[in-house]
């Protein structure tokens, strides 16, 4: 039904383009046009399709909520909770569609009848209103074509609005992220105190699982302490940076200052391949090769090593991050003005002394920025940790033990079927918002630092 309506609108829109252009050429035979004929076509097409489509989409968005309120108005006097009302509405809908398999009582049956009635009414009303809007706006546009008004400006203004709306998409996505995370997280903090979440040291959400009914609040208090996860996240990120910073920075410096043109041409893209490998592949590699390898070495040294050690996950993550640091620091170092180098050489400094004493300090803000970006990347990395590090949240500073991270726990909680309204599911969103805040914070600092640095040398 909806598809037919949309295609009808689009068909009319396309045909009115030709109609408008034709009309313009007719006018052209008697008087001078104020725009190219095709703009008359565009004008008519836009007025034909745009209002109708806007009304159509607004209607489609709001119709379900309004219909739901109509149906549930009958049940309001029964003092039902929100969840029960939702359940009733689902039943009514299923009954109306003929897919319901359960006990049918009179009340439900009535509601289903009413649902079908309202749905039909709404459908008919939608068609009438959309078509009416289409005809009205079309005739208005046709009038202005007849009067040979200026046509290019309105068409271009419309296009500009379309462009502007598209650029709002990024803002909308951000708003969507913040609200969807906040919405669930706030509900989570209604059942778990925010203090227990941020400062609690015991993370064991599976404990709160209770079939039918609310879990014991005492249990809740002790099950959602996120400190082990925060600690684990930064611990693994720290291990990763221990691998990535020396290797990445040194190779960045080498590529920027020492490498011949030829070496640079081949080495740089090859190192960047490391950034293009999907993280799930790194995860598999860490779990299957690096993990057992670390364990074997540890055991031969007489150490107790978990087969899912933080060290293995962190080291592989570090390798993944090498190209970020090397590329970014390469760019930053190449941007340092040549006259600084020349000045240093003129004083008799060797190349490495110039790099250490002159170029590195000059490039430091940019390098710090790129390291912060890399840290934010490590903090948000998911698959390596899920596959190679443990899923049990231990509070530990021993790289040979297994530990868990924010991202890994989100996956653990949400894999498989989730129940919205369950504190466990909401906990994942609370973790999500802490992750979002941390990475946002790191990114904003990094971007500001890099921007300041760029301005300095431009």
């Amino acid at each position: 039904m909806n598809l037919v309506l949309i295609s009808l609108i689009l068909l009319l829109g396309f045909s009115s383009y030709y109609f408008g252009r034709k009309k313009a050429t007719i006018i052209q035979s008697s008087q001078r046009l104020t725009a190219l004929p095709k703009f008359y076509g565009y004008y008519l097409a836009i007025w034909c399709a745009a209002p109708a489509l806007i009304i159509f989409s607004l209607w489609s968005v709001f119709e379900p909520t309004i219909v739901k309120n109509f149906i549930l108005a009958d049940y309001l006097d029964q003092n039902l909770t929100k969840n029960e009302l939702q359940l009733i509405y689902t039943k009514v809908k299923a009954l109306a569609l003929g897919t319901y398999t359960g006990d049918i009582n009179n009340f439900l049956d009535n509601s289903a009848g009413k649902y079908i009635q309202i749905k039909n009414m709404a459908n008919n009303a939608k068609i009438v209103i959309v078509l009416a809007a289409l005809i009205l706006s079309l005739s208005y546009a046709y009038q202005s074509i007849k009067k040979n008004n200026r046509m290019r400006e309105p068409v271009e203004i419309f296009l500009k609005w379309v462009l502007f709306t598209a650029s709002l998409a990024a803002v909308l996505v951000t708003i969507g992220i913040v609200f969807s995370l906040l919405f669930e997280a706030i509900r989570f903090f209604q059942s778990v105190r925010i203090f227990d979440f941020i400062f609690g040291t015991h993370w064991y959400p599976a404990k709160t699982f209770v079939r039918d009914g609310q879990p014991d609040p005492e249990l809740m208090k002790d099950a959602f302490g996120a400190v082990p996860l925060f600690a684990g996240t930064f611990f693994i990120a720290f291990i990763a940076m221990c691998v990535a910073i020396p290797v990445g920075l040194l190779s960045g410096i080498y590529l920027a200052e020492y490498a011949t043109r030829k070496v640079r041409k081949y080495a740089k893209p090859i190192i960047e391949i490391l950034a293009g490998i999907p993280t799930v592949v790194y995860g598999f590699f860490a779990a299957l090769t690096v993990g057992p390898f670390v364990k074997e070495i540890g055991n031969s040294l007489g150490l107790e090593v978990s087969s899912e050690s933080a060290l293995a996950a962190g080291a592989v993550m570090g390798v993944m991050i090498i190209p970020f640091i090397s590329s970014l620091s390469d760019d930053v170092i190449s941007a340092v003005p040549q006259n600084l180098r020349d000045g240093s050489y003129a004083m008799g400094a060797t190349k490495s002394e110039t790099i250490k004493k002159v170029i590195f300090p000059a490039a430091l803000p940019g390098i710090v920025g790129s390291i912060l970006l890399a840290v934010s990347r490590a903090v948000g990395e998911t698959m390596i940790v899920v596959m190679a590090s443990g899923l049990a949240a231990n509070l530990t500073a021993n790289p040979l033990e297994s530990t868990s991270t924010i991202t890994a726990q989100i996956v653990v909680i949400l894999i498989g079927d989730q129940q919205f309204g369950d504190p466990k599911t909401q906990a994942a969103f609370a973790l999500g918002i802490s992750l979002f805040v941390v990475t946002l914070f790191l990114n904003v600092i990094a971007l500001t630092v890099v921007k300041k640095y760029r301005e300095k040398y431009e």
Partner: protein
Amino acid sequence: MNEAKRKLLNKRYRAEANFKLFGQIAIGLALLFLAVFMYKIFSKGYTAFQKTWIVTEVHYDKELMLIETDNPSLEDLENADYYDIAYKAMTRLDPSLPEEDDRQLIQMVAFTYEQEVKNHLLKNPSLLGKIVPIRLTASDDLDQVHKGNYPRDIPEEDRRVNDYQLKIYDMLNERGDILSKFNLSFFTNPDSREAELAGIASSFMGTVFSILVCLAFSFPIAVLAAIYLEEFAPKNKFTDFIEVNINNLAAVPSIVFGLLGLGVLLAVFNLPRSTPLVGGITLSLMTLPTIIIAARASLKAVPPSIREAALAMGASNMQTTMHHTVPLSMPGTLSGTIIGLAQALGETAPLILIGMVAFVNTIPGTPVDPAASLPVQIYIWSESAERGFVEKVSACIMVLLGFLILMNLAAQIIRHKFERKWN
């Protein structure tokens, strides 16, 4: 020059050489890791492209198949009973085995052996009544033994293949009745719980659909947004705000987009779970900033003289942009888009959150059928305990990397072939 000065100079030169060496070591380490990584994946994975078959003989005995008519039609063959003849085809390998141990022989082939016998006959109905050789898919444990991925010398109780089965295997191998052929079913089969039958067809289609949906959503919006920001946006606070938003969005962890997909697309808009449609939209939100940034960069690279020339000829701003600037920027935009899509192609975590991790043993035909995707398939298989899946994961990784390389090559070619150089 006195001695002290010479010493100092030598020290400084040594430091110089050392520093350079450190740089070379760092680059060497990065390259070494890449090499080890590729070697590990390829050496583990290439065997998955071979499939092991056991050759035996089957007697299409009408009586055992419960066919009563003399000239059975295809439909009769379709409804015939294949259990007995398939069973016999396997027990024929060792007639001396007591009947109660038959299972040991049956376990050497995939559980679909009865179906395979049936399909074989349906393809050549003339074989009815004859005794013909047939090849059956070997079980994954035997497959691994044949490929040498499975140690034979550990104690029998720790092995999935027992001594008797190994004896039969050796006998068949000597006779040349163990075949190793190209594993077509790896590409045409959907996922399966049995490693020997599992293929990537379902996850491959899931990936294709997700990427198409992702392209359909992200490309138009991103290009329009980039045109606005680069060509029309006034310099004010709000434009700055949009720009900051885009830059930050590009650095948000992918798993957060998964939460967005779960909390908004599934919970609010009630889109179908586990489908490439939702997966594609989620990925498109992630790709959006990447494409916007690439498209803006390539719009910026179009020299102002082009715009000035068009404006001087009396074109409006919109005409200048749409007729000249945008077409000239397209190669850069397209290669940026492909790189963004390649990133989306390897993304796993957001897809897991919106349920594309469900076990799907059918090949999806539309974007609203439940599906997995290649990276998720890697995750699913690598969580399986069976040994046969290890090579499957590696092979799946090879396919995925192959795609990524192809896409990046395409991006390079578009960039080098079509992009105009202005100077």
